[in-house]
């Protein structure tokens, strides 16, 4: 008789003679689970072709080399001066601690939503609903995930250590080894914090508050407002080749404790959150693979249970058909934004504001970060339009052209984006080091808003890249360039909106008025936004014309 069990036997079999089977009292459920998992893993491994494995390794290597090359060019390899090295010794640990604070905050947020594990949905239903010990059942996938992330952390840390050795001097081996240890510690802090937050059912509000406090402490340490911060030991660890501080070991100990605590409390994680994640995380990864940014945003909101408010912040009366139905529909949507989304936009505005201050102080690369912050904010402020694109059947059933409806959604997005930009500029112009002159902030406000909005409009309306349509006839090289352009263009428009501030600073350095330097780029940003609006209006016509031309070229008509 064939036994349908890949592990060891139980002894006497239980009965299935009626429809109500009986469990064997001495059954080793956890042992059976492990045996079945081995069986499934062997089956999956047997189905993987070695050519696929080689191809994946090839792609990973190519991407890795490109990433290292780009990173190397950004970091550069000129050694720091003695003065700069002193600065690094004095403030480096604090700022590197901010990276650890971010990692812990990220982990806490993820854990408060049931992360970092994302199990198969069937595994949640059949394994976690069985009387198997949950801690044991979850340990294997948790360790597997942590092991992979640890590998990534060690590789990334080693690369970072190697790059640091070029600029900071000292033994390359020491920097690479320290980088690997720091990368591993960072992963331990992040994953351990997430596991512990999930296992202790840390409320989301508490996780966010704790994360923000850690970040604030690290930033305060970086700017010397306080003597040290809880995450400074990580910075001390990362700078060991520059100056050995035993306190750096505390970061390693904290990572080990967090991991051990998290793994010990795995069984207490929320099944409800695990079920939600099992469905959404798979879809999220798939959408990210397809570079479908809109789907990623929608799924991320579902994962965070970011639901519109039942009661709007301000209740608008519903009267007849109304004069601006599209605008009012958008406004109603905005007034139902959950507090989490409002908080996110405030945070993005603050980040953009601090980046502007950084640009004004001379750190020009922050231009990109400021633009990205406004772009991400734009993806939220164009939400009513994005929903129209998500659900095209209602729009297409309307007698009004789709492009016209899209264009009518722009004003409400502009209104919200102007509010975000105003807050960013208020932060940028607030008293303190690196503050923007009020005149420059006022002149830069509109382009800052329209840049982010323009980028978001292009991103949402373009949708995910496809190889279909006329582009299927083009060679792979051309498709690759198109793909890169489509990916980079929307954030680039947002960055364009920050240029007035940069050039205002240049003008002041040259002895001219800041507003005078900013003016041409204000015009450029507004002109670009106008072009984007024009594109919104005629893009369907252009697309159909282009498809027609390609069909003619291929001889189909």
């Amino acid at each position: 008789m064939r036994r349908w069990r890949p592990g060891h036997g139980h002894g006497d079999r239980a009965s299935l003679t009626t429809l109500l089977p009986v469990a064997h009292p001495d059954a080793d459920l956890e042992g059976d689970l492990a045996a079945w998992r081995r069986f499934r893993r062997q089956q999956r491994t047997a189905e993987v072709h070695w050519i696929d494995v080689l191809y994946q390794a090839y792609l990973t290597a190519i991407l890795g080399i490109v990433a290292v090359a780009v990173l190397s060019s950004v970091v550069g390899d000129d050694g720091l001066s003695a003065g700069q090295l002193t600065e690094v010794r004095a403030h480096g640990a604090g700022w590197l601690g901010a990276i650890a604070a971010f990692a812990v905050a990220f982990g806490l947020r993820s854990g408060s939503r049931g992360g970092p594990l994302a199990m198969e949905r069937a595994e949640v239903r059949h394994v976690l609903l069985a009387p198997v010990d949950r801690t044991t059942a979850l340990r294997a996938p948790a360790v597997r995930q942590a092991r992979f992330l640890a590998f990534v952390g060690i590789v990334a840390g080693s690369i970072a250590g190697n790059l640091a050795s070029n600029r900071l001097g000292g033994s390359t081996t020491a920097w690479v080894a320290t980088g690997a240890l720091a990368g591993l510690t960072l992963v331990g802090l992040c994953v351990g914090a997430a596991l512990l937050a999930a296992g202790t059912r840390l409320p989301r509000g508490a996780a966010s508050l704790l994360g923000l406090l850690l970040l604030a402490g690290a930033v305060a340490d970086g700017v010397d407002a306080i003597g040290t911060s809880p995450t400074a030991p990580f910075g001390d660890l990362a700078l060991w080749p520059l100056r050995f501080q035993a306190v750096g070991l505390l970061a390693v100990v904290a990572a080990v404790l967090l991991m051990a605590g998290g793994l010990a409390r795995l069984g207490r994680m929320s099944l409800e959150a695990a079920e939600r994640r099992s469905t959404l995380v798979g879809q999220l990864r798939f959408a990210a693979t397809l570079q479908d940014l809109r789907t990623v945003i929608v799924l991320r909101r579902q994962l965070a249970m970011e639901l519109p408010r039942l009661r709007p912040w301000v209740r608008l009366r519903v009267r007849g058909t109304g004069r601006w139905p599209v605008f009012m529909r958008g406004l109603r949507g905005l007034l139902r934004w959950p507090a989490a989304r409002v908080a996110r936009l405030v945070l993005l505005a603050v980040v953009a504001g601090f980046c502007l201050r950084g640009i004004w102080s001379g750190t020009r690369p922050l231009l990109v970060l400021a633009g990205l912050a406004m772009f991400v904010a734009g993806l939220d402020t164009v939400e009513p339009l994005a929903q129209e694109v998500d659900h095209p059947s209602r729009r297409d059933a309307s007698p009004v052209e789709a492009a016209s409806i899209h264009l009518r959604h722009v004003p409400v997005g502009a209104l919200a984006q102007l509010l975000v930009a105003a807050l960013a500029m208020a932060v940028a112009a607030a008293p303190g080091d690196g503050r923007l002159p009020t005149a420059v902030a006022a002149v830069g406000l509109v382009p800052l808003a329209l840049g982010g909005l323009g980028g978001a409009l292009v991103s949402v309306l373009s949708g995910p890249p496809t190889a279909g349509g006329g582009w299927s006839l083009t060679p792979p090289e051309a498709q690759g360039i198109r793909l890169a352009f489509r990916t980079a263009w929307p954030p680039a428009i947002a960055v364009l909106g920050v240029l007035p501030v940069l050039f205002a600073r240049n003008a002041i350095e040259q002895g001219r008025a800041g507003t005078e330097g900013a003016a041409p780029f204000v015009t450029l940003a507004i002109f670009t936004f106008t072009l984007v609006c024009g594109w919104v209006r005629v893009r369907d016509d252009i697309a159909s014309w282009f498809a027609q031309q390609m069909e003619q070229a291929s001889g189909k008509t």
Binding site: W4, P21, A27, L29, L129, M305
Partner: protein, 231 residues
């Protein structure tokens, strides 16, 4: 309302409540189901039927109140061992055949099964001809049959069934009704959430929910159900 059953309850809810932020999915619900009782849970869409079943199965967490299965809190190890949940949407592995599914789930519950047992069960649900196929490639109805078999291959005292007839063909529905009757006779407590008003003719007790509240608890006819919940 139903008269209290003298038998001890195997499923007991006391002011069980579920809310998502400001949205209440289940108003405080109290009920007790004794062993061997077949209960129909009826109500319109969004009335809270599936929410209650998922709470009892341990898939969702209560906002307030309590649910116990054989005296253990829902979701605890003891309750999980005693509760079989057949969801409205079958959840199956992509890489296991129907037979492997059954053997896996049986093993997770400490049941050692022989191939003949699995054949019998598959015959009962009408899947014996697809026993070695991957259910990932099945139609909705066949997946539902596989899900039913999974719910029955393991021990339980409480069977929670959510919309079992969706996607089933007529022979499949007849087979499932026969299985439910047999389980009922064997002493299992069964709670079936359904939109099918004719099902209440087979049950001991019908609980009607409207907007998360119990509006009827006791015997009912299909006409009563239509009147209570609008079909």
């Amino acid at each position: 309302m139903a008269r209290p059953d003298p038998r001890p309850p195997v499923l007991e809810a006391a002011s069980a409540t579920k809310a998502y932020a400001d949205l209440v999915a289940l108003e405080p619900l109290s009920l007790a189901v004794p062993a061997g009782q077949l209960v129909a849970l009826v109500g319109h869409n969004g009335s809270g039927k599936s929410t209650f079943l998922r709470l009892a199965a341990g898939l969702l967490e209560l906002t307030d109140g309590s649910i116990t299965i054989v005296g253990e809190p829902a979701g605890s190890s003891g309750a999980r061992a005693a509760t079989s949940f057949l969801p409205d949407e079958p959840v199956l592995y992509d890489d296991l055949s129907v037979r492997e599914h059954l053997a896996y789930v049986a093993a997770l519950h400490g049941v050692v099964v022989e191939e003949a047992d699995l054949d019998d069960l598959l015959e009962r649900v009408g899947l014996s001809h697809r026993a070695d196929d991957l259910p990932a490639r099945f139609s909705r109805g066949l997946r539902q049959k596989a899900s039913i078999a999974l719910g029955l291959v393991r021990p339980f005292e409480v069977l929670l069934v959510d919309e079992p007839f969706v996607g089933l063909d007529a022979p499949g529905k007849t087979a499932l009704l026969g299985i439910l009757d047999e389980l009922h006779r064997d002493g299992a407590a069964i709670v079936v959430a359904t939109h099918d008003p004719t099902f209440v003719e087979r049950v001991d007790r019908c609980i009607a929910l409207r907007d998360g509240e119990v509006v009827h608890d006791g015997p009912a006819t299909p006409t009563d159900v239509l009147r209570l919940v609008g079909g």
